[in-house]
Symmetry: C2
Subunit: 783 residues, 2 copies
């Protein structure tokens, strides 16, 4: 292997745009290694469009929008069209402004723009007959995507479409062919997870001749999603009008006006607008779109604050600068393909969560009210069942200010919740209720323990409140019985495991805050996982209210066994806070290792996943399912045993097989950066198995050198000069030049700066019992 | 005739509640004369429920809510159910919080509450089978209504329901029978002008155990109407739940929750909530409802500001006090029936327009944004085609501060309008586009000329902008041709007459502001009415773009002749600003008088109104249609002739036949107070024929004595001690003791205080040519 580049070391400078004191690495142009198309085919569910790091606007092409009432299509489209874009689709419907990155359920796709020529068409048409609508064919040859920039040629119109973004605005540059009509469609009925009636209301108004403002409210996964917009044009609108696909009830203005044409405002449930521009200049049309969730005034203020007076090139350069700055916080060495996969993963960790407030701090809260974040930014898109594992720990390490704001956003959400609940799946001022657990407590606790500037008492109250909502999926019974019975939840077993870890996170925070009585209470709750093990040394099992075990059980079966997105074979290992305790329940180390081994090495019969939309054979390593998050920490569990080399072996397998720098290279939904954050951590050779412990459990590094430029000005470097697919085993570790026998490093180790060196080899270490003091955290070992 | 009471004269005091310096007349309890049921049957379209003067909340029983898709029912229900309540309906569906007073098109009926007992029913049921729903039978015997108070016994449940209100809140007191279940229904699908899907979205949340907040958005005549609410209960909610009549698209929370019961928040398009209260006390349940158009926080703040800590009796007493204070501004003498009709009319002039801002001044603007009225109140429900005639002139005279705020509200509306238009029909931050003209200019101009504290330049710009919107019903052609051609509007002739008067109002304002060029321009436009008269001495006629006259024409036909809500026979007189000019075009005084005479005396063939929902035989006096406003000033036009006694005769006929103190006593829709304001002025013996002229044209008083307590502390008294149905003719007039020959008095005459005495007789005055200097204003006479 050869070194592709050597990270230039510069003096400590403040880098504009990502607001950090650190090495000036922006000029390394690390964004060159990012390929936004990775994950756009197959399972990844990523989008190729333009955004800035954690930006609230993600402007991207949508390749289809099939209503869910097409027979048999509902589930497939809701799942496969999550990102709006599918690499294999032959047409582009248009460019919408909001996209989720890597989810398994879909929504958004707000405010679609599409430039066209020729006769005006106001329906999207269908992929098989694009000429019947405004959509266009395109080829991937004409497509370019890089951080902050996307471009494509719309083949049916000969229009070059380019996109870029700021935090709260998008900018479109449309180069129409000479002599052609210059139409622009604004379809307010378009959406991802679309269906007739999804748009509850849409409203537009022309303000002067080059500004359009409005909003729409949709009903979808986000139960009520308000998107206000302000759209400015680089040249006057010469003509415009609307089609009302759904007629309003009151038509009293019919007599007065021809609203189809030249009428400066329109509202309704099925509004499609068109604008025409004069063909009097070769200059492309530049369209700037400000978004807000609070008001049209907010959208306009955002547009003015972030895009006013800036050219397309200015905005594109700034977006690229922001990306290079953020990506530059981690400099890595490797082959072009390795760097592509690494930096694309790093890129994907910085799309969601997304800023969800106006430039002045105003934001829509969970209570539907408009609130103001003073001195911080409110964030949304918390896919917490996924992201508490590695995404949030990565952000806490590398983006402490954003991590603080995210914790504050969660606490605000809790205060605005009718249930007193921290977010489960925060989506545009809605609770999306997706998946199980109350994992926000993990994120809040970890942030609190890391010293983030959040109110400790408020955080504590929020966590306690969240974990005591009696009607939340079996919580009442969980508190009474120590587990969630099957009567209360079809996934009572996995939910018990999740609550158990979450309660441990609350315990850690309570302990740190000196709230002894709470600490005692939650330490007990943290051990509820034990109630799922029947003492036979087997897997976790679901139970009924009367204490009886579900029988028979099949640990390879995902459905109907009391687990969700993970069978008991995988999910039984979800005791990240007490691996030693778990090991005992499973029958001791030998049995534990045996089960781990067979999980990875024994193929899963297709009967167990044939009907499962998010598992394919290529996503499996034996019975290990990397695409579903409950397994993510499992390869690191070998570190609690005498045979960590086994984990090193499987980590390399996962890295190589689940993450390939190809369109269809992701072995599962990227899940708002969790899959990618796993990759980033694992490439560095450590992973936050148990967020809240302050520890990162060692694995095996993937790249020869990775260097973290930390916000505190320190640098932490991981070196593994001999690493390769063959040399996948760790022979020895040194921290800051000293031999290092612990199976983990701490957050403090990293934040202090220094060097972690792995000596790599192609020979697995011999099994050897670890000293207890070298083991990573386990509740059972706590003094 | 006997005096029913003698107005007590008190020292000048500040009266709390109606914020006025004047005689303390509140203790006269003039509200005793008000019968809110007048107009609730037949044409009046008034509601009997509770509100305070100009209050934003009008809580009132709704007696039916038939979806418009019941075959053949659409038009009838939209029309006859405008007020929500029809005297002849046998059941009450519930009590909703917003009602229009006397309109001919319908909307609102927001946030319906209904207390029930027995088995819980969540559908309203139907009038013929009320037992199939939550509605109840009732008898009028059990009903009471007075200003600020309404009560009824719900016969099916034995519940006594009482209502009162403040400006922004309603208070309900429900006395359930002992031992019965105590249900309360909140039906967010209910509405006036209701249909499946009218509710675009509704959202509710329980906050603690005795507060419910939420909102709904409806699509109706008000294109998008936002009603936020905060509902507090005098005792804890013991149990609650929802029915979702329309299922949401995303049901991802199903697994987690049983949302039907005890779940503290819900949202959707078809939400019906129920709450149960313990039967542990004889105390009635008191429910306070705060409304806001800006936010749930705003609704809660309004509730706290206006109702917190106040009992039902406190609020009722305050509402009655407010009414007595406002009604006390005019003290009148007459028989009980005369006083009932007079004070009920006065009451009906103070329901709309309605306050449309939070207690802190925040309000939803026409642009959908939230604005703040600093130091004034924003108003809505401007039915301007109706109310510019007498309602607004009455408010300007008697409520100058509110009139100023209404003018400011209109100017804010204009600034927020995508069209730059002053309101035509302002309805809850929407433009309702109802009827023709741009009559807000009349109101703004009149206010400006009266010295109201509005920005003159802003007002001028707003009026000029309004009158130059080219796509507003024929304005472009009107400016080019001097009339609105039939090609541009099916009511081009009447619209031309309306624009012509409106342009005169702009002319007057421009002149007063020294904007000479504008004044010249609008003085010309004000004469465009002339373009409808063909010189043959006939009626106004519609024209085509090429100048040709519509032919044949039938001046008795309302439809298809180029007029709206008025045939040419009536509408031709709509030149209030230049009666002398009109007289000339009609062929001189003799012909003018002849046409006026025949209008009143010659019956209209039923063929001309058989299909017309708003004209019945009882509403006609000859061919004069009092229920449609374009005629309102006509009986006063005799004052420009040598035979004013004819007008005095017909005025008395109109007063006696169109206004009877009975449920079905109103000869037309009350139209947001215009019909009633006509009555109030006419009872005093003068009427603002041409708002903006500063003149009130004399008629014939109806009551023996009426005294106005003006805001400036002055008192203006009209006396007619001998007046009766026989003594309907004016023999002589004195102003402040001096013989008075003018046919009008001025606003300044009134505001200076004094006494206007009419000597009445049963003998009509002999015809005598008036001196030109005694004539009321006419543009043609202007020097």
């Amino acid at each position: 292997m050869f070194r592709h580049f050597l990270a230039a070391i510069a003096a400590v400078v403040v880098v504009a745009g990502c607001g950090r004191t650190g090495r000036d690495t922006a000029d390394l142009h690390l964004s060159q290694y990012v390929d936004p198309f990775i994950g756009t085919s197959g399972m990844g569910h990523t989008f190729p469009g333009a955004c800035v790091p954690f930006g609230g606007v993600q402007v991207s092409p949508d390749t289809d929008t099939i209503p869910h009432n097409v027979a048999g299509k509902y589930q497939a489209d809701v799942y496969s069209l999550c990102a709006g874009y599918r690499w294999d689709d032959p047409t582009i419907v248009g460019f919408s402004h909001t996209h989720l990155s890597g989810t398994g359920h879909s929504d958004l796709g707000d405010i679609l723009l599409m430039p066209t020529t020729g006769s005006l068409q106001l329906n999207p048409g269908t992929a098989d007959k694009p000429e019947n609508g405004y959509r266009s064919r395109y080829t991937h040859d004409s497509e370019t995507a890089s951080p902050g920039y996307y471009a494509v040629t719309l083949a049916d119109y000969g229009i070059r479409a380019e996109l870029s973004a700021t935090t709260r605005t998008a900018v479109h540059r449309y180069t129409y062919p000479q002599g052609a009509e210059r139409h622009l469609i604004l379809d307010l009925t378009h959406g991802i997870y679309n269906y007739e009636g999804k748009t509850l209301w849409a409203s537009v108004r022309m303000v002067g001749d080059s500004l359009l403002t409005g909003y729409r409210i949709t009903q979808g996964w986000a139960r009520e999603n308000y998107t206000y917009f302000a759209i400015s044009f680089s040249r006057p609108v010469a003509d415009y009008g609307y089609k009302e696909k759904i007629r309003s009830a009151y038509r009293g203005f019919w007599r007065k006006f021809k609203t189809e044409h030249g009428f400066p405002e329109m509202a309704g449930r099925g509004i499609v607008c068109w604008m025409d521009f004069a063909d009097d200049s070769d200059e492309p049309l530049v369209v700037k779109v400000g978004l807000s969730a609070t008001s049209a005034q907010g959208a306009l203020a955002n547009l003015r604050a972030e895009a006013h007076g800036k050219s397309f090139e200015d905005i594109k350069a700034a977006a690229e600068g922001d990306w290079n700055c953020e990506l530059g916080k981690i400099s890595a060495q490797g082959t072009p393909d390795e760097l592509k996969m690494f930096y694309t993963s790093l890129y994907h960790t910085m799309i969601n969560p997304s800023v969800y407030c106006d430039a002045d701090g105003s934001y829509r809260g969970l209570d539907g009210g408009i609130h103001k974040a003073e001195g911080w930014n409110n964030y949304t898109v918390f896919s917490l069942w996924d992201t508490y594992r590695a995404e949030h720990p990565l952000l806490l390490l590398m983006h402490p200010e954003r991590a603080r704001d995210m914790a504050r956003s969660m606490l605000a959400h809790q205060q605005q919740s009718a249930h007193g609940l921290l977010p489960i799946w925060s989506l545009m001022a809605n609770e999306g209720w997706c998946m199980s657990g109350y994992h926000a407590v993990s994120v809040v606790s970890d942030a609190l323990l890391a010293g983030a500037d959040v109110d400790g008492n408020q955080a504590m109250e929020a966590m306690v409140s969240t974990s005591n909502v009696p009607y939340l999926e079996g919580v009442k019974a969980y508190k009474e019985l120590g587990y969630v019975p099957l009567e209360d939840s079809s996934c009572g077993a996995s939910t018990t495991l999740e609550y158990s870890y979450d309660d441990w996170a609350i315990y850690k925070a309570a302990k740190a805050l000196g709230r002894d009585s709470l600490a005692k209470q939650y330490k007990l709750r943290a051990q509820n996982y034990k109630n799922l093990f029947d003492g036979s040394g087997s897997f976790a099992k679901a139970r009924y209210r009367d204490g009886a075990w579900k029988t028979p059980t099949d640990p390879r079966q995902t459905y109907g066994e009391g687990f969700i997105e993970g069978n008991s074979y995988n999910f039984s290992f979800h005791v990240p806070h007490d691996v030693i305790g778990l090991m005992g329940l499973m029958g001791g180390e030998d049995r534990f290792l045996c089960i781990l081994d067979t999980l990875f090495s024994q193929p899963l019969d297709p009967v167990y996943y044939a009907d499962n939309e998010d598992i394919e054979e290529s996503c499996l390593i034996g019975g290990y399912v990397h695409g579903n998050e409950p397994s993510h920490h499992i390869p690191y569990l070998f570190q609690w045993t005498s045979d960590p080399a086994k984990g090193e072996y499987w980590l390399r397998e996962i890295m190589e097989r689940m993450y390939r720098p190809r369109r269809d290279g992701l072995g599962g939904n990227d899940d708002c950066g969790q899959m990618s954050a796993w990759y980033v951590f694992s490439a560095m050779g450590f992973y936050p198995v148990c967020p809240g412990s302050g520890e990162f459990v060692l694995g095996a590094p993937f790249l020869k050198e990775i260097s973290l430029s930390l916000d505190n000005g320190k640098t932490f470097t991981v070196k593994a000069p001999e690493v390769s697919s063959q040399n996948r085993y760790v022979k020895a570790v040194k921290l800051n030049g000293q031999p290092y026998s612990k199976r983990y490093i701490t957050r403090d180790d990293i934040l202090s700066g220094g060097t972690l060196e792995f000596e790599m080899t192609d020979v697995p270490r011999e099994k050897a019992a670890p000293s207890e003091s070298d083991l990573p955290y386990s509740l059972s070992l706590e003094k």
